[in-house]
């Protein structure tokens, strides 16, 4: 079973040289720490930055330099600032190659819910709806089950949707799964030490298992 860093580490393998990547809040943010040296990627922060660098050294925080999670950050040589409208322009125009974000629920048809729990939480969708509606390549990083032990990989989302038929891949503490164009979670890899049965038990939606399912390499 993977911890948060393990999930991030596995997702980092999906990041290809030359990619522009948007990382959501939470586990996705950790992915940046595991991108191998030789792989050139540019991180987009939708509040208006391409080329997000690491956190600043203590004492060097700049209130005018934050990421979409409102964290103080730094730039890199070749970074560029732009306004929010152009930022979502490049997202809609599919110039961002990969979007990695968290989710509360994912359905077997690729629907995703991650912005609202009716009666409980009303924080808003931020940029998530724009990202999932436009990105060609969306990976969800999340726990396989919620705190109540219920599967988050469902036949159909129960929470208000963020986007429809958009998620392509899911990485959880248990497994890597693709969502097939015709629907269904296709199991690709097991986390180290995790059995097929564990994954079956944690997946409420249609799980497709074909042939031997290897353990993931990290």
């Amino acid at each position: 079973m993977l911890d948060k860093n393990g999930i991030a580490k596995r997702i980092a393998k999906e990041v290809k040289d030359g990619y522009y990547v948007n990382l959501g809040i939470g586990i996705p943010t950790l992915v940046a720490n595991f991108i191998p040296k030789g792989i050139n990627v540019v991180l987009q922060s939708e509040n208006g930055l391409l080329g997000m660098g690491p956190f600043p050294f203590e004492g060097e925080e700049d209130p005018d330099l934050i990421n979409a999670g409102k964290q103080t950050i730094t730039t890199l040589p070749g970074s560029v600032f732009f306004d929010s409208a152009l930022s979502f322009g490049m997202i809609r125009a599919r110039k961002v190659n990969l979007t990695i974000l968290g989710a509360m629920e994912v359905a077997e048809n690729g629907d995703i819910a991650n912005w609202k729990i009716p009666g409980k939480m009303v924080k808003g969708m931020g940029g998530a709806m724009d990202l999932v509606a436009s990105a060609e390549n969306i990976i969800v990083a999340m726990q396989h089950v919620n705190k109540a032990g219920e599967s988050k990989l469902l036949p159909k989302c129960t929470l208000p949707l963020t986007g429809i038929k958009c998620v392509k891949k899911i990485v959880t503490e248990l497994a890597v799964l693709d969502i097939l164009p015709q629907g269904g979670f296709k199991l690709l890899e097991r986390a180290p030490g995790v059995s097929i049965d564990q994954i079956k038990n944690a997946t409420a939606g249609k799980l497709i298992i074909e042939g031997n399912i290897p353990e993931m390499e990290l």
Partner: protein, 238 residues
């Protein structure tokens, strides 16, 4: 050049009235018009509709207007980080319209570009699309459904820039640019507060983010607090 400078923030907001709609620049607490917000609080203008990406925190940014119950309706993309907001919302004291962040920015921009409506895929198939017109377009071979979203109509846009000249030309610093440009061009009347107000000719005409034609009033703000919402740092290697 046409001189857009006003004496101070009070002169700048003299004709903002109860019940008006305001675009307010900034992302979180980054790049917010601190002086203008403080002046609205001081003057006690009420029943405002605010279009802003966030609602500030409890004791800063638009949170100050919420504290004094001056906001009737909030149009935003993300309103976490604000307990008073949540309280007013759950008590039915506050109307809220949540809008995807890109849609929010583009609906401001559309006003500045004189485009009454735009098409965006954000929110298709979700509750954001309820009651809205959708339409399919094929672009570069991909067919997709889009929502028709209308440009925002705001009586005023309140923005914060880094530098500005008296002709109204604005320059922003780093990610404090965020929504400020789209709102500066999108407001019917745009008021800009700047950290440094300079004479025409001092800004490089090649590198101005918002041309002065979009700005009605400009003044140099005071005592910028520039609060940091999430101070994240790394340790120096010793």
């Amino acid at each position: 050049m046409i001189n857009k400078s006003v004496k101070n923030v009070d002169e700048a907001i003299a004709d903002i009235k109860d019940g008006m709609t305001l675009m307010v620049g900034g992302f979180g607490l980054c790049g917010i018009p601190e002086n203008l917000i403080a002046a609205l609080v001081k003057k006690g203008i009420k029943n405002l509709t605010c279009i802003s990406n966030n609602a500030g925190v409890d004791d800063f940014g638009l949170g100050l207007l919420l504290q004094h119950k001056q906001i009737k309706k909030m149009i935003a993309s993300y309103v976490g980080e604000n307990a008073e907001f949540e309280r007013q919302l759950l008590n039915g004291e506050l109307e809220v319209e949540l809008v995807p962040q890109g849609t929010l920015a583009t609906r401001c921009l559309a006003s500045g570009y004189g485009m009454p409506a735009i098409f965006t895929p954000a929110g298709v198939g979700t509750e954001v699309a309820e009651g809205k017109e959708t339409r399919k377009f094929t672009f570069h071979g991909v067919e997709k459904e889009y929502l028709l979203e209308h440009a925002f109509e705001a009586d005023f846009a309140l923005v914060k820039a880094w530098k500005g000249d008296t002709a109204g030309n604005l320059v922003y610093n780093q990610t404090a640019l965020n929504f400020n440009h789209a709102m500066a061009i999108g407001g019917k009347i745009t008021i800009a507060e700047v950290e440094e107000l300079v004479e025409p000719g001092e800004l490089d005409p090649n590198f101005i983010h918002t041309p002065g034609i979009f700005v009605s009033r400009i003044f140099q703000g005071e005592k910028y607090e520039k609060r940091i919402e999430q101070r994240t740092v790394r340790k120096r290697d010793i």
